[in-house]
Symmetry: C2
């Protein structure tokens, strides 16, 4: 098998992440073997494809064409048999995931075994396999058919060729895989999100800004900035012609003083009530699906805009 | 005077922020009275305008036309005389800013007095004025001719009409002003940036990712997300049809557990050396000006892309 030119992939589960992968895998021309015990699995997947088909990264694809590339199996072994890649997306239950990987590995001894987990570590997922390091985390950012990032996280002792195969597979899908140098709980993007959210909740709780005002501040400043350059490159450019070296010399202990002043809000009744009340006011009038479709279209437009500008010289 | 249709503005200082404001003020057709004691002020400003003219928000403007709208004064009183708005951007030295606002207020008793300060609080800046609350912070995000956000921060007891006038002025410039409900050190956007950067530096220091990999992770995920929806709206959509209410019930103490696991890196020799070495590797090959021009063009493209998609229904 070649993960750079795969033909058949199994998708375990039919939750939100699984549905995004199914849409993308089918849009890229793969035969997709869906494993689910849902009685209404075809209707369930069709509904999701209708929602996602217009915002697929290479443009809209007819739902019938996508559906024609799918087959459905109640049994994990049947779904995995003949698949070059297995992407697992069941609920965050370690024992369940271990069992499924054990069964998939039996049915597809050569397949690349990938997990979408956001909270479990790769070394634990393959516990029932002869080589536990055979399971690689390929953690997407929701929704996986839109957001380019996949965090690739391997267990200690994983073969380099297998990690490369995972990277090749995600590149084939048009994703931007980044291999973490070691596994940490929460990986990277969710930890960064969590760090930012803590300060957002602090400032909201302290009455400095409302939920709606905070979102406006971010989209009008650091959001569009970080769509273009990451935090480090932004920091480097903030230093002027002397770059980061000049900035670090100039800041002195300013970084640490700034960090010491950040908030550590409790998630108590006041926090939750204030957050939910302000969220109702900010988003309550919107239909969830319409808002999600709008977000996906806008995010695709942002990604395309950055690509159009091209790389710096 | 009307801050929604101003004709004349004074700009105090000729640092990076001042230069961005000068370019934008002139591009919007204002007569700009620049206060600077630099002997080479005209050459200095002309160089900056050449750099900024192509990335002005409504499209390129000839440098000669921009320059024809500027006049230069060594004296603060002369610059402020006749200006409807004074935007102060000198170095972060409280005594200096207080003195300049005292002198500007004498020369222009009716002018709107605005400060670009990022670290000082509005109540302190007007200490030498009859009404200390007359100075309002209008804190831009660098570069001010590109990034839409202006944080408007007033002292306790500031007149509502004056805060409105500041908002009108920044709207006239095409900015997205957000009024903070109270003043906190660092305001909002820089505090959020600081919170994220702390975790970035932690993950870099711990060897999970390099500087370049971390930037790739952010631009490929949360960056393009936050250019479109802020952190709270993203969080709300992450909850599915049940929104934030469902998510908060589902998370339990997950938020606080996640926060407890975030890093608190020391800014010691190891941190600084690792950061600078990796930054050299990531950005060392780029010319600063070329990289800044590219960032500005790409950020303008992102802002335009989101505007083109329009608001959700």
């Amino acid at each position: 098998m070649s993960a750079a030119k795969p033909r058949t992939a199994a998708v375990l589960g039919t939750g939100t992440i699984a549905l995004g992968w199914i849409a993308l895998f089918a849009a890229k021309g793969l035969d997709v073997r869906v494993s689910s015990t849902r009685a209404d699995v075809k209707e369930h997947v069709t509904r999701a494809l209708r929602l996602y088909a217009p915002s697929l990264p290479d443009g809209a694809v007819p739902v019938d064409l996508l559906m024609s590339r799918l087959s459905f199996f109640a049994d994990v072994e049947e779904a995995a048999a003949g698949a070059e890649v297995v992407q697992e997306n069941v609920r965050e239950d370690l024992a369940l995931k271990q069992e499924l990987f054990g069964r998939a590995a039996q049915a597809a001894p050569e397949a690349l075994l990938l997990s979408s987990t956001s909270t479990l570590l790769p070394g634990d997922l393959g516990a029932l396999l002869e080589d536990p390091a055979r399971v690689v985390v390929g953690h997407p950012f929701n929704p996986p058919h839109i957001v380019p990032l996949v965090e690739v996280v391997a267990a200690d002792g994983a073969e380099a060729a297998m990690v490369e195969a995972a990277v090749d597979f995600y590149r084939f899908l048009g994703k931007r895989p980044v291999v973490l140098r070691r596994a940490v709980p929460g990986f990277v993007a969710n930890r960064l999100q969590s760090a930012l959210l803590r300060e957002c909740i602090h400032l909201m709780r302290e009455g400095v800004v409302t939920v709606a005002e905070l979102d406006e501040i971010v989209t009008a400043s650091i959001g569009s900035r970080w769509a273009v350059v990451g935090p480090f490159r932004a920091f480097h450019l903030g230093g002027g012609p002397g770059g980061l070296r000049h900035l670090m010399a100039h800041l002195g202990d300013g970084l640490e003083r700034g960090w010491a002043g950040l908030g550590t809000p409790p998630v108590d009744d006041v926090t939750v009530r204030t957050l939910l009340d302000q969220a109702d006011e900010a988003f309550g009038a919107y239909d969830y699906e319409e808002l999600a479709i709008w977000r996906d279209a806008a995010q695709n437009a942002v990604i395309a805009a950055v690509e159009d500008v091209g790389k710096p010289n």
